[in-house]
């Protein structure tokens, strides 16, 4: 049985056209088909948040979507934020605040924060913790991640002035 679908989409402003099997998860499409291994795969059932990406402007779990569903969509992954010699402002704040140790959860944390900072005030620690509650980190105890997001939120407020 032929079960291939042609999809075309933009990932970090690069256009791709590929044939995909129906059951191919978007997370696996990004990692294995496109080689964009920045998006991490933890639990594959929507709990850990490591695979969070931005799809048409909203953060989503890429392990809970099929690649075929992303046909004609725009995706942003952690590779679109910055590079190792040119970090994005949010990545730079994560680095400054030691908001990562092993780094496994970091791509999902960053993409979640991109969406959260765009949509929520994140003015208090409680708001920031709630914002991060869908992303698991087993190293940091979250304190430094909260600090980094707090700094990002402050930076945003100051630049808005």
């Amino acid at each position: 049985m032929s079960d291939l679908h042609r999809i075309e989409l933009f990932v970090n402003d690069t256009h791709y056209e590929r044939m995909v099997e129906s059951r191919l998860l978007l997370s696996d499409f990004l990692r294995h088909t496109l080689g964009l291994t920045g998006t991490h795969v933890g639990c594959e059932h929507g709990i850990c948040g490591a695979c969070t990406i931005i799809l048409d402007g909203d953060s989503v779990r890429s392990c809970l979507l099929f690649a075929v569903q992303a046909d004609s969509c725009r995706i942003e992954t952690v590779e679109g934020l910055g590079s190792s010699d040119r970090l994005s402002p949010l990545q730079e704040l994560f680095r400054q605040h030691h908001a990562l140790q092993c780094g496994f959860c970091t791509p999902g944390m960053l993409m979640t924060c991109v969406d959260m900072l765009a949509k929520y005030p994140l003015a208090t620690d409680a708001e920031i913790r709630d914002a991060l509650s869908g992303n698991l980190c087993r190293c940091t105890g979250y304190e430094n991640i909260v600090d980094a997001v707090k700094a990002a939120s402050k930076q945003r407020r100051e630049s808005a002035r």
Binding site: R23, S59, V60, L64, F66, M116, K119, G134
Partner: protein, 292 residues
Amino acid sequence: MKPPVFAYVRPGTLDAAIAALACYGEEAKILAGGQSLVPLLNFRMLRPAALIDINRIPGLDYVVESEDGSLQVGALTRHRTLETSPVVKDRFPILNAALAHVAHLAIRNRGTIGGSLSHADPAAELPMMALLLDAEIAIAGPNGTRVLAARDFLVGTLATALTEDEIVTQVAFPPLPAAAGWGFEEFAQRSGDFALAGVGAVLGVRDGRCVEARIALMGVDETAIRATQAERLLVGERYDPDLVRAAATNARAAINPNSDLRASAEYRRHLVAALAERVLVAAWRRAEGRLA
């Protein structure tokens, strides 16, 4: 953790979706937000022959207040759209409060109202809100459309009155009674987890007396349920802390919770009584304009 093989069908209209359902019958699952379905596929707890992806069907994503004051919500409306809707915040603040507890932003960005109702998780907020607010659920199938009250729609754990060839198209929430107060609380071990128990209430209070009482409970029985006896205890009465406690205790006795790894049945009963008391106090205070 990879889903099994399935055929992927992406109809462009509701009629085409219903035709696809008729073609595959019970072998098909509808893919809307996928936030409950895809984990079940990844775990291979489900092996449908086909997924019918309704995400591209136009006209099913809307939140509108109709002339009679009811709130009509299209089945493909995302949780976050409903949560952030100004009409919901203004006219149905209890819905806004409950939706903030649905999982996490990335899930709410994707999960749909129709999907949550059709999935009918007994610990999910939306089916419970539908039951509490006496919502009416519009369903389309090969023989046309029908409308079911939420209490007739939710029949058991992950079970609804939908037949295999039907699809939810809309949920309509009738207007809240005038001068109604509301309360909603749930308890989960971590922010965004499924609640161990949750309670919602709407109280209509006139001249200091309760004229209408609705109490719904979630996570503590086969489906979300109404605590009808506790509701009856309140109607016609004036506010009295002992009365509220009696109603909360009554709600505790009305449920049939499970014991599982996360909580014992007894603990869930305790939670229902404690949350019900808080929620009823809040609802009464709001009805009397003493709480925002």
